[in-house]
């Protein structure tokens, strides 16, 4: 029923279909939780997978740090520090990644979402 030529039409469509799946799945699993700390004290936590729009978060401090929070990613947007290492680190998207502004004493790290649904519940985790 099918000829070889037909595959030339079907295969690209199947690839696109697979692409749509991959895109949705990557999107939903992208980004853990960003933990923002200033002078070692946690000031906020952002669930990057739940972030739907791009926002600028004003952290302030000596270096007037601003963070850019996007769906699935967080980055240093602005810092007055001389070395600009933090800004050059770029976007953080995966658990384990960290960006730090040493002069401004601000750090951002991405942690795994708790249990990433490995378990439904935890008992004995006293809070």
């Amino acid at each position: 029923m099918f000829e070889k030529k037909d595959l030339l039409i079907i295969v690209p469509f199947l690839i696109i279909a697979a692409g749509i799946f991959a895109w949705f799945n990557l999107r939903s699993s992208a980004g853990g939780i960003a933990v923002v700390e200033k002078s070692g004290v946690e000031i906020c936590r952002i669930d990057l997978s739940k972030q739907t729009k791009t926002e600028i978060l004003d952290i302030g401090g000596d270096m007037h740090i601003k963070l850019k929070v996007e769906p699935g990613a967080i980055s240093f947007y602005h810092s007055d520090c001389p070395d600009q290492i933090c800004v050059r680190t770029g976007k953080l998207t995966k658990p384990g990644q960290t960006a730090v502004c040493v002069p401004g004493k601000v750090s951002v790290r991405i942690i795994q979402r708790s249990g990433e649904k490995k378990y439904d519940g935890y008992t004995g985790w006293h809070q």
Partner: protein
């Protein structure tokens, strides 16, 4: 290749594409909409809820309201709560209490009786001395403990219900009720009842990380997977030692790591023996109890911890409840009904029978 066939194949391919897109959207957004997570602070602790179904949000919000209402009734830190008024009226007159408070007090009295006082709701005079809930807990003077110990006695707490409502009375003025050993479990009862009333499909509530309520069956039909904390793992990197696969019910864990402080090199935990007035030191480090009722699971985990392995297991048998006992040497004792549901993850722990 004839043209008509080409058109047919292209149309077929487009159909697949649309289907793929629809399925992707449905699996992604459909499930997300049906799941609702929220956290709030109540009962002096952190309440975490994950509810599924079209009514998930409504159910979780209703649960939060019910838990707050319960706190307003049973908090001994609030002077105008039922328990607050009952404590103030101790030794003088009975206090009028809500039916819900009365029911909870009855459950706590029953556990106290069956455990022969290993769990005692009238522990307040002693728990106040230790101050585990305060910012500055410390070892009390032994004279103070001896002085207040006689006022810890559940037998001198009476709960009665008549046509005009419920009252409770404590015989001596120095007596006081502290429902810390049962309150979080009772909060889970409130939440699960709210999920049922609101028509949620399924859900899980965690009160303070030590009591859990499971409602309904998960959409994929698999049992709820519950991690039990490794009692030897440190606070800043808590790990699990085993997993429990449960269809429903309530789970509570009492462990030595929960609330503790160190004074002169000795670490004291919050699981006080009402008979001695000191933290129970019988070799157990954690007890997890699974029951069909939240308040019961919470109260029984405390009672079983203080009773120790043998008597604790006997108490669970009386209630037809299940449990997991862990001792200092990493031996794990599981009641018969949980054996097939417990899976050890940290191989340092060994199941004994």
């Amino acid at each position: 290749m004839n043209r008509r066939k080409t058109v047919a194949i292209v149309l077929f391919a487009i159909l697949i594409l649309i289907l793929a897109a629809l399925i992707a959207i449905w699996t992604h957004f459909g499930q997300r909409e049906k799941r609702y997570e929220c956290t709030n602070y109540a009962m002096g602790t952190y309440i975490q809820q994950t509810v599924y179904g079209k009514k998930a949000q409504e159910a979780a919000k209703e649960a939060a309201v019910k838990i707050q209402e319960l706190e307003n009734l049973i908090s001994w830190r609030k002077n105008d709560s039922d328990i607050g008024r009952l404590n103030q009226a101790a030794g003088t007159k009975p206090a009028v209490i809500h039916e819900k408070t009365a029911a909870l007090l009855r459950t706590s009295l029953e556990i106290a009786q069956k455990s022969n006082g290993a769990y005692d709701p009238t522990i307040l005079p002693i728990s106040d001395l230790w101050g585990f809930e305060s910012d500055n807990p410390c070892v009390p003077d032994s004279k103070d403990i001896q002085k207040f110990l006689p006022d810890v006695n559940y037998k001198d707490l009476q709960v009665s219900t008549g046509s005009s409502g419920s009252t409770a009375f404590m015989k001596r003025a120095m007596m006081g009720i502290d429902l810390g050993g049962i309150g979080k479990g009772a909060a889970c009862d409130e939440a699960v009842a709210a999920y049922r009333t609101a028509g949620a499909e399924c859900g899980i509530i965690s009160a303070g990380g030590s009591s859990l309520g499971l409602f309904g069956t998960k959409a994929d039909g698999t049992p709820w997977k519950i991690a039990i904390r490794d009692p030897n793992s440190s606070d800043n990197s808590v790990t699990e030692m085993a997993e429990l696969n449960l269809d429903s019910g309530f789970v509570s864990t009492s462990g030595v790591y929960e609330k503790k402080f160190t004074q002169n090199g000795i670490t004291y935990h919050h699981l006080l023996n009402p008979k001695t007035g000191y933290p129970e030191n019988n070799g157990l480090v954690s007890v997890t109890v699974v029951t069909p009722n939240g308040a019961l699971s919470d109260g029984l985990s405390t009672a079983c911890f203080v009773l120790g392995l043998e008597k604790g297991e006997a108490l669970l048998k009386q209630y037809q409840c299940e449990g997991v006992f862990i001792d200092r040497a990493r031996n794990v004792y599981v009641t018969a009904g949980l054996k097939s549901r417990l899976k050890i993850i940290n191989s340092k722990y060994v199941i004994k029978s």
